[in-house]
């Protein structure tokens, strides 16, 4: 096996989930790919050390999340995602609208709070894994998740209520 064949295998395995996570963190597909690319390039340069870690992907994720929050601070606009998939029976647009409401509300949260929710509820990381990715405590993850969900609830429910009244 060539020296970095294992890194190639690593990229092939983790590229898609990392890009999807990055997209949810940034709300921008181009930035998402740049973010993963940057984190993987850094990982590649240090692969001889990172590959010996128990969880190299956790290293990439941490680099990615840290960079994501920094990039977000410098950005002024974000892409609004369009959800064009799997509309269920009944009103085919209502669930899509609801998801857009949720994602739009998510993007109003502070970067680290948003990252906690994405890592917990999309990447399915445990609280301790999320804490490791963000470089914070498990207690902080719990409180950020709780406050994030509360803020989402506060934003989603009035919007849904309005939509129902219109229909």
């Amino acid at each position: 096996m060539a020296p970095h064949d294992d890194f190639r295998a690593f990229v092939e395995q983790h590229w898609a989930p990392l890009v999807r996570t990055a997209y949810l963190l940034t709300g921008d597909r181009g930035y998402a790919e740049d973010l993963v690319q940057s984190a993987l390039e850094k990982t590649h340069r240090r692969w001889s050390r990172v590959s010996r870690m128990d969880a190299p992907v956790a290293y990439v994720r941490r680099a990615m999340v840290n960079t994501a929050t920094s990039w977000r601070r410098r950005r002024r606009v974000s892409e609004v995602p369009l959800l064009l998939v799997d509309g269920p029976a009944g009103d085919p647009y209502a669930p899509v609208d609801q998801r857009q409401q949720v994602l739009a509300a998510l993007r109003t949260l502070p970067p680290r709070m948003r990252a906690v929710l994405v890592l917990r509820y999309f990447a399915d990381l445990s609280e301790s894994e999320t804490a490791a990715a963000l470089g914070c405590s498990v207690g902080s993850v719990k409180s950020q998740a709780s406050r994030g969900l509360t803020r989402l609830r506060e934003q989603i429910e009035p919007a849904l209520h309005t939509a129902l009244q219109r229909s």
Binding site: E12, R20, A39, V85, S128, R153
Partner: protein
């Protein structure tokens, strides 16, 4: 549908809109080439030297500080612009000298150049507890890539900048940095540098309770985000934890790291021959491998080997390599279980688990495995039954699965890596001998075992 479910649904749907089809590696490599070409094109008009861009990326040719770089992780963090703290904060001559003394950072195969010495900041500089310490936030560049690192320099008290040497570094974005050095014979020092508007709590020392938890010593609180503390000589890592709060939020909660030395060459974590003989209780197993693994376990548990019982619960093979499950019995009544496989020099620690002392002997113990040589979780689970087991089961979401131990006493089964489960051993009369959760794989084994729910069995 509650908010959590709604959020999961929305995130999953949002993620599915991202097209990630195609060959990831080809895409990664192509983007990397494009990335470099674009940067080269942008810079070509202002620096003819970039015709040798390969040499630039290889760190051979320095780029001027004003050329744009590609930021990677480790961007400026809250310490970068923090005021200098410590009793050398006002020593402008020394800090000016340090600014020139900061050296390039050498990683294996790459050299990160200091790109702008004027942009170096010093979050901390002091003569403290018998040494001179400086923490520098250093902007670095490797080819087109920009990074920032927090670098510790140490020297003798009163040392000139030229006499300071690098003693450790971390990413420049870290909000909290620690320096912790100790010795068996000499006093040590703990320095924690956190944002000035934060509060630091330090707890030194802990014990494993009979109930199967980690009980830390009462913490001492420090205002203004700074701890400078001399520490007593200690035979080994005393288990220091640091918690930093800022704006009511915990921004760091973890160990302080520890560099320890002694002049006698003694290793308090190494078990005696008598301990190993008693641990094996007649089993046949490579003693050198067991010595290394038990030494590793004592170090991981921050325990000195003296006076701590060791018992080998199981020996066998994992992926064709020697494997063992053994327990440590420190004073106080708790039990720590460790599973490892490999050789004396190259091994993987598969499990570390703190158990309540009562009933530990009759608990079945299970651990998940990663792919050999990789970090990928697998569905494989090893389960070791206690003596006297007549029935062994694994319970996850469905009905209990009956397990059949092999001749070594271990059963190998499969379980989804994310699925919570427990294993239960029954005696000949059908009574439960013991039941133990199957903990998740750890991503970071740096902390004290039992300090989180992934490494203990009681809430």
């Amino acid at each position: 549908m509650n908010t959590e479910t709604t959020l999961r649904d929305a995130l999953a749907a949002g993620a599915r809109t991202v097209d990630v089809t195609g060959d990831p590696w080809a895409g990664f490599a192509r983007r990397e080439r494009t990335h470099r070409r674009r940067r080269r094109a942008r810079l070509a008009g202002v620096a003819a030297v970039l015709a040798l861009a390969g040499g630039v990326q290889a760190g051979v040719l320095p780029l001027p500080a004003w050329t744009p770089g590609i930021p990677v992780a480790g961007l400026p963090g809250p310490l970068t612009d923090a005021p200098t703290r410590g009793n050398l904060a006002g020593d402008k001559a020394f800090l000016a000298g340090m600014r020139q003394a900061v050296t390039d950072v050498v990683d294996p195969g790459e050299v990160w150049r200091v790109i702008d010495r004027g942009a170096i900041t010093f979050p901390y500089a002091a003569d403290v507890a018998g040494r001179r310490l400086v923490l520098a936030s250093v902007p670095l560049r490797y080819g087109f890539l920009d990074d920032r690192a927090l670098v510790w320099y140490e020297g003798e008290p009163g040392a000139a900048p030229a006499g300071m040497r690098e003693s450790g570094r971390s990413d420049g974005g870290e909000p909290v940095v620690t320096y912790h050095q100790g010795s068996a014979e000499e006093p040590g020092v703990l320095v924690v540098v956190a944002p000035p508007d934060s509060t630091v709590a330090v707890s030194t020392g802990f014990r494993y309770t009979a109930a199967g938890r980690v009980e830390h010593s009462a913490p001492t609180s420090y205002p203004n985000g700074l701890v400078e503390r001399a520490t007593q000589p200690a035979p080994m890592d005393p288990g220091t934890t640091v918690t930093v709060r800022r704006d009511g939020e915990v921004i760091y909660d973890g160990g302080a790291g520890y560099g320890w030395s002694n002049s006698s060459g003694a290793m308090p974590t190494e078990p005696t021959e008598a301990t190993l003989t008693a641990a094996l209780a007649g089993r046949s197993f490579d003693r050198e491998i067991l010595r290394r693994w038990v030494t590793q376990a004592f170090g991981d548990a921050r325990l000195a080997a003296a006076g701590v019982g060791v018992k080998v619960r199981w020996t066998g093979t994992v992926d064709g390599q020697p494997a063992a499950l053994f327990t440590l019995h420190p004073a106080g009544g708790a039990v720590l279980a460790y599973a490892l496989h490999g050789t004396a020099d190259a091994y993987r620690q598969d499990l570390r688990l703190l158990l309540p002392g009562a009933g530990a002997e009759t608990r079945p113990i299970a651990w998940r495995l990663r792919a050999e040589g990789k970090d990928d979780p697998t569905s494989r689970v090893y389960v070791v039954a206690p003596p006297g087991t007549s029935r062994l089961t694994l319970s996850a979401s469905g009905p209990p699965v009956e397990l059949t131990p092999d001749a070594t006493g271990a059963a190998v089964t499969t379980l989804d890596p994310d699925t919570a489960a427990s294993v239960t051993a029954y005696g000949g009369d059908g009574s439960v001998l013991g039941s133990t959760p199957v903990t998740q794989l750890e991503n970071d084994m740096g902390g004290i075992p039992g300090d989180d729910l992934n490494t203990r069995v009681v809430p």
